[in-house]
Symmetry: C2
Amino acid sequence: MQAGGQATGDTLAVTVRQELARRIEGGTWRPRQRLPAEPTLAASLGVSRATLREALRSLEEDGFVTRVRGAGTFVTHRPRLKNNLDVNFGVTDLIRSMGMEPGTEGLKVYEASASAEEARLLSLPNAAPVLCVERTRTADGRPVVFSLDLVPAALLEGRENLLPRLGQRSIYELLDRDLGITVRQGVVTVRPAKADRSLAAALRVPRGALLLYLLQVDYDADGRAVLLSHEHHLGDVFEVTVVRRGAGTLPRERT
Amino acid sequence: MQAGGQATGDTLAVTVRQELARRIEGGTWRPRQRLPAEPTLAASLGVSRATLREALRSLEEDGFVTRVRGAGTFVTHRPRLKNNLDVNFGVTDLIRSMGMEPGTEGLKVYEASASAEEARLLSLPNAAPVLCVERTRTADGRPVVFSLDLVPAALLEGRENLLPRLGQRSIYELLDRDLGITVRQGVVTVRPAKADRSLAAALRVPRGALLLYLLQVDYDADGRAVLLSHEHHLGDVFEVTVVRRGAGTLPRERT
DNA sequence: TTCGCCACATTTGTCTGACCAATGGCTGGT
DNA sequence: ACCAGCCATTGGTCAGACAAATGTGGCGAA
């Protein structure tokens, strides 16, 4: 997310955060090193100390720095993460972040009724109509993920002209740009799975191959479930990593 | 983490954050509802607006609230998460958070040499000595996780008397309380796996049963790798969920 | 010399009060 | 009924000050 432009539209504190993150990741400040004192740093960035502190707080929560009262702010060692669920939204981003070229195979778009479980997860009435996007995602031409995405049909009410574009770009992009729906958070459940006949064919692996099954529900800013995805990942191609920051029993640490 | 006491040792802003989170999760403020204005809320909590804002920033980053300039701060719908890697550190917490009673079976503690891969992940020289803790974790008496934890032997230099306690309590607790090492972040890699003979025996499942394999490396505040865990989870008992907050392409959202 | 204690400068945490900018409802006119 | 513009409300930023925790250096006692 903080890749690229610290351009417009954001608050000043966010801009400062991005600048600081850039310096840390770029090696301007190295792990274990102390940052300049807050008043100094604020002045050099041309912002007030309050704004700087807001940025620092954010960085601390994401594990970039550790702050110790009376001592200073120190750069934390942060393991490099290629495919972090925290920052990579959607399969497209995931593939791209691994330095591979995302593609699509065997696209099918159709309308169907949500299963009982799906309706429950999407907070829809039973057998509610949903739009289904079924496709095999490829990385550099090789199949890596088979996904089935469900969008409540009600969301596209009167915008049926968007249907053919469903498979083209990222669904997140379509929701955002064409429907004004921004996905703010999602919950993904991870399970092991085996390739059945159709999965084996789609992913070109032997039947019974080990897969990672991700069941994911995305919510917009109002908390409405807007997207449900069944994803079957090739186990030996993708690894899923998450950072768990926190929070030992003793809040103290030494330098 | 914010379960229980907002007791001592923490900063005031953290305490305020916990109090607000408690009110949101407890239903005092419901989703889509607007919180009192910052000056009002700050006064009612007996803190300055700056401190309150620090707490709000933190809550916003964790997806509890959304703040819109000129409009107000709104409670976000937050899906219920039972076992969230973000907040549950360690298998013990994980089991407890599901409302089950954690236990241990077949504990083995021994010293060994790290494999090449393990040494690399722990940033140790090849074949460096490590302490291994091997055990089957149970929930309400039923085996659910088989774990193998590796701690660099150098960390326990001169504290060999702690060895017998390794299997007793949580390793995180032991590192924290007895060695002054607080785990600040960890990285976990998730993969599908099948039960081989020994895993099948330990977890009392048929050979070939589907498992979730979690390879996890934990780091202390200085970024030193202090713990490596191989964990095999029973696929149909545990689900792993993570929240991905973010960050649509368009930073604006409507109310 | 060595150890321990204390004063002090440094740094983050918190407070106060003020102004700026975006939002959304209200009002008045068409 | 509809629309445009005013305006109170609210979050974002700023400035300056004090409190509390930390680490260091010096001083004195053993």
